[in-house]
Amino acid sequence: MKTWKCIVCGYTYDEAAGDPEHGIAPGTPWAVVPDDWACPDCGVAKGDFEMVEI
């Protein structure tokens, strides 16, 4: 499981945790997160996230 980070606000998307509040189940790999998903903290588009080294 990987972690991705918002380039603007630093929010991290953890594949293990998902984003259940926005309909992304725990364990959802980044590649499967829909393209119209946006950072829940600041609204940055999925395409503008970066992968965090883990």
């Binding site: 380039i7 603007v8 606000c9 630093g10 509040e21 926005h22 946006a38 829940p40 903290d41 600041c42 609204g43 940055v44 588009a45 395409g47 503008d48 970066e50």
Partner: protein, 384 residues
């Protein structure tokens, strides 16, 4: 030669616009003009980067050259714009005239400074840019105690960041509570208690009247006459949109540069977005509105006129001592706050007489998790 789209300002608004535009049009020439270095950095982290040990360089996610290459745009850094000549579709800059097909003003805002007496008043810091942050981090070296003017959103984030980094902080605000009108009284009290629990000292109903140099630090006198010491003084009392350039060119200016929902100013082919723009009366210096604006304006510039729409846009207050989300009711809303205590905070809902939710404030980690549930019930600020 085709005149380019010229964007003035390399903050989140200007760069996000360029990024969104390139998703739609890879060919149109884009020139971005910036007074600063034009390195792209995380703005929200300026007020919470200390405790996490972020150096100014670590907040930069794309240095200028990388950004220009990544977006396929030309960036002219260290260049100031002195005037706009709308009739000639030209701007006058410190590096000479530049013609534009369309001009976008993404100028940002400057920190409001309240009048303060004393020989140390000129050394009071404000932090609204990466360069400010570098200066702030520099001056903080060795500081044990900070006096902070302003208990609004940014002031409280700085206060929490300082206390989490082990630095003492006195926060002054003329208001009776933290976060001003974003919170009803019960929610504000819970928020205050949580931040006080993290070691932050609040002084409400008073401002900073005098700052005098004393040894390596300062002697602070508040407006009630109480005196305290601090190694550094930070002011965070809000932002004022940069409107002088637009005003000088005869554009319509209110509190910000006046734009319609296409983000068009009163002059042909001149647009504005971000913290400098007043969109149909709304001045919202937050990230989410900028994202909405950049996406709409990119479509417009790519040939499909697109009105910006604002869904309900909750704002996260980055205070780890008390995670909080606010979604204030639109100005002029008629209704009432209803507050309920949660295990670690307060859930406050603003509803009209028919029970329709118009805004909310969720204070504490447990309540803050309900953000999406409540955001779904709030009508859009500017409907699609």
């Amino acid at each position: 030669m085709i005149a380019p789209i010229v964007i003035v300002g390399s903050g989140l608004a200007g760069v996000t616009l360029a990024r969104e535009l390139r998703k739609l049009d890879t060919a149109v020439p884009v020139v971005l003009i910036a007074a600063d270095t034009a390195d792209f950095y995380s703005k929200p982290m300026l007020s919470n980067g200390l405790a996490s040990g972020k150096t100014p360089a670590q907040l930069v996610s794309a240095p200028r050259e990388a950004l220009a290459a990544q977006l396929g745009i030309e960036i002219r850094a260290g260049v100031t714009v002195d005037a706009i000549v709308p009739t000639a579709r030209r701007i006058e800059t410190s590096a000479g005239p530049v013609s534009y097909a369309q001009l976008v003003l993404a100028l940002g805002a400057q920190p409001i400074r309240l009048p303060i007496d004393g020989d140390g008043a000129g050394e009071v810091l404000s932090v609204n840019t990466l360069a400010d942050y570098a200066r702030w981090r520099d001056r903080l070296l060795g500081a044990r105690h900070v006096a902070l003017l302003g208990a609004g959103l940014i002031g409280c984030e700085f206060a929490n960041d300082l206390s989490a980094a082990g630095i003492g902080v006195d926060v002054y605000d003329i208001a009776p509570q933290p976060l001003g009108r974003l919170l009803p009284p019960g929610a504000a009290a819970a928020f205050r208690t949580a931040l006080e629990g993290a070691g932050i000292a609040f002084h409400f109903g008073v401002g900073i009247a005098r700052v005098e140099r004393m040894g390596q630090g300062y002697r602070i006198t508040d407006s009630s006459g109480s005196v305290r010491k601090a190694d550094l003084v930070l002011s965070a009392v809000g932002l004022r949109p940069k409107t002088a350039l637009a005003q000088g060119a005869g554009l319509r200016v209110g509190r910000g540069i006046g734009v319609d929902r296409l983000l068009a100013t009163s002059a042909a082919d001149i647009y504005a977005l971000g913290d400098c723009a007043e969109v149909e009366g709304h001045l919202l210096p937050f990230v989410m509105p900028i994202m909405q604006q950049a996406r709409a304006l990119a479509k417009t510039l790519a040939g499909t006129p697109t009105a910006v729409h604002y869904p309900a846009m909750p704002v996260v207050v980055k205070t780890p001592a008390c995670p909080t989300v606010v979604c204030p009711p639109p100005p002029g809303s008629v209704g009432e706050w209803r507050e309920e205590a949660c295990i670690d905070g307060v859930r406050a809902i603003f509803a009209d007489r028919t029970g329709k939710t118009l805004g909310f404030a969720l204070v504490g980690a447990i309540a803050a998790k309900e953000r999406q549930t409540w955001a779904r019930q709030v009508p859009p600020l500017l409907a699609a």
